[in-house]
Symmetry: C2
Subunit: 333 residues, 2 copies
DNA sequence: GTCAATCTTTACAGCGCTATAATTTGCTCG
DNA sequence: CGAGCAAATTATAGCGCTGTAAAGATTGAC
């Protein structure tokens, strides 16, 4: 059983290839009887259009590259899902690419040695700076996600991190907490994400006239929850004095919950904890997490809109969009 | 700035297209000086091969479709990562597809109306039966993942579910538990996955001479952790009498932990809990989860090996491979 | 110095589809 | 009844690359 080509269908129906193509694409000007005749031939032969041929002819692949650190981090899995769902109506499929947070991988995304496969790219950088990205001058239409980096020439979608950090810290202060720490920033080489969240955290303390105390900043060695378990446990044993911990993300918060529980501290009675991202599991931990909830579907939709405009040829300066977030209050704070 | 084509490079170097192609592909018989000359032209023009053209010419896209229920379920996110990593050395990229566990979506995967885009497919069915899958006669080389369904004609890779369920239940029995329940199967229309895990659970009870008690089976309404929270809480309030709960997967276990904690029961002192999948977070919950750990990297590698053989033309009967698992003992049991 | 054998390079025909422009058919209307 | 216009259909030229087959260059053996 060999493959059926467009020409085979055309021969069978006794028409030209283009007419068959018109039927397949529901082109307006095809007479009903012709449409029926061609459809019959298609069905009889079991014809399935070959996407490779179509892609080459149109010059579009319908594929968008979605690149971020690691799909096994729940936030990114949920982001991937949202993007994938948002892309379907626009006729795009999503191809995932993990960077592993290495400079070389991120750079090779921007300076691809091959072309044609992707129509565009959504990229959440984690180690490259705006200047480095700008220097790469990617030739693929690209929209950046997140707060990490974005040259002026490129589009970017994110939430207002300092504001959200300030809000969630203020929430802790409003509930009477004063000795508030921060968990989950890098030990050295602070990322832009951590920087912005720390800034909002500090701002909230300032607003309340609380003197920020550097001894309440707990850096972690890795992005996963285990990094927070290790770091927080260690600092608790060293006599950390806090009544609340703002965590950089939900994974850090989950690790923090474990460290606190393990040490015999009760959440939120002894120490309140907040997360960030509102991953699905944050509603199911015990206690459930008060967290910053970015509007991921909107983020995905906006990013795709900007990207499709770029693909369509828009060539203006970078547009930087801020997407809404909210503070979801649960048991942990 | 228009796109550079192979012919442009050939013109610039004063050679034929094929020679340029040979240089790009490190073809054996190219003289060093020719290679240098062509490379120079490539660099000068900044030539990037267009994959669409290559794909059409070779008839291969290098794309493998990976389909399962939902990427936001941690097990699948980790599986996707493993497959993606295993695919790279073989020259394949992975395109994710979510089925949402609906029959129509699963069926449309098998009976695609388009062709050419994918070289093969890895598919973890969740609602289709073996017979339904067999009836579809997919024309794309396909390897099935998981225990749910697999016609005799198709390859499949999975772990030994009944054995693993039996082992983890026996572990509970060995630690003195007797009133052991099961959490997370469907309320109606038992899935093959649940069936096999329940079978192993029951077998272990039988082995120990314990009478299985249907009142200790707790079905859930959804696959996520919240489904388990609801179901377990409800049953606990209704007077459920257990000293251990075998959960269908880690998400159900995490939900179960919350329900138990919320009800004031201590894990593992009052009730031991086990999970399934060994997702990353299972090491960070409090208490951390004793769980069944499938060897996902091996699963991914074996599945891809079988798939590449199918793509290469292997046409034998379905091969059913069993991949190793182990019981990871942590705090919860 | 010649012939065969091997190494390099080339010419060109597709891969399967779409887009453009050209052509034919079907109507309306003066 | 034929001009004029719109609707329907076709012929054909690519899209950018690779594979095949064949030609040209080089080498070694005798």
């Amino acid at each position: 059983m060999k493959r059926v080509r467009l020409q085979d269908v055309a021969d069978r129906a006794g028409v030209s290839m283009k007419t068959v193509s018109n039927v397949i694409h529901d082109y307006l000007h095809v007479s009903p009887q012709m449409r029926a005749r061609v459809q019959e031939a298609i069905d009889e032969l079991g014809y399935k259009p070959n996407l490779l041929g179509r892609q080459l002819a149109t010059g579009r692949s319908g594929l968008i590259r979605l690149a971020f650190v690691d799909i096994s981090l729940p936030y990114f899995a949920e982001l991937a899902r949202a993007v994938s769902i948002a892309a379907r109506p626009a006729g795009y499929r999503i191809l995932l690419e993990e960077t592993g947070a290495t400079y070389d991988t991120e750079r090779s995304l921007l300076q691809d040695t091959e072309s044609g496969l992707f129509d565009g790219m959504l990229f959440q950088p984690s180690v490259m700076t705006s200047a480095q990205i700008a220097a790469c001058r990617p030739d693929l239409p690209t929209v950046l996600l997140g707060e990490a980096a974005a040259p002026l020439t490129m589009d970017r979608v994110m939430i207002d991190n300092p504001a959200a950090a300030r809000e969630i810290t203020s929430h802790l202060i409003a509930s009477g907490r004063r000795r508030i720490g921060f968990v989950g920033h890098e030990e050295s080489g602070l990322s832009e994400t951590s920087r912005q969240r720390l800034a909002g955290y500090q701002q909230a303390l300032d607003d309340a006239g609380i003197q920020p105390d550097p001894s309440r900043l707990i850096a972690t060695k890795s992005y996963d929850a285990m990094g927070a378990v290790t770091a927080v446990t260690q600092r608790l044993e060293a006599g950390l004095d806090v009544d609340a911990l703002v965590c950089r993300d939900d994974l850090a918060a989950i690790g923090t919950l474990r460290a606190l529980n393990h040490t015999g501290l009760s959440v939120p009675d002894d120490v309140a904890v907040t997360g960030w991202d509102d991953i699905k599991l944050s509603a199911v931990t015990f206690p459930s997490l008060t967290t910053v909830s970015p509007d991921v579907p909107v983020l995905a939709t906006r990013a795709l809109t900007l990207l499709t405009e770029r693909i369509a040829g828009y060539d203006g300066m970078g547009r930087h969009e801020v997407v809404p977030h909210q503070i979801v209050v649960r048991e942990s704070a």
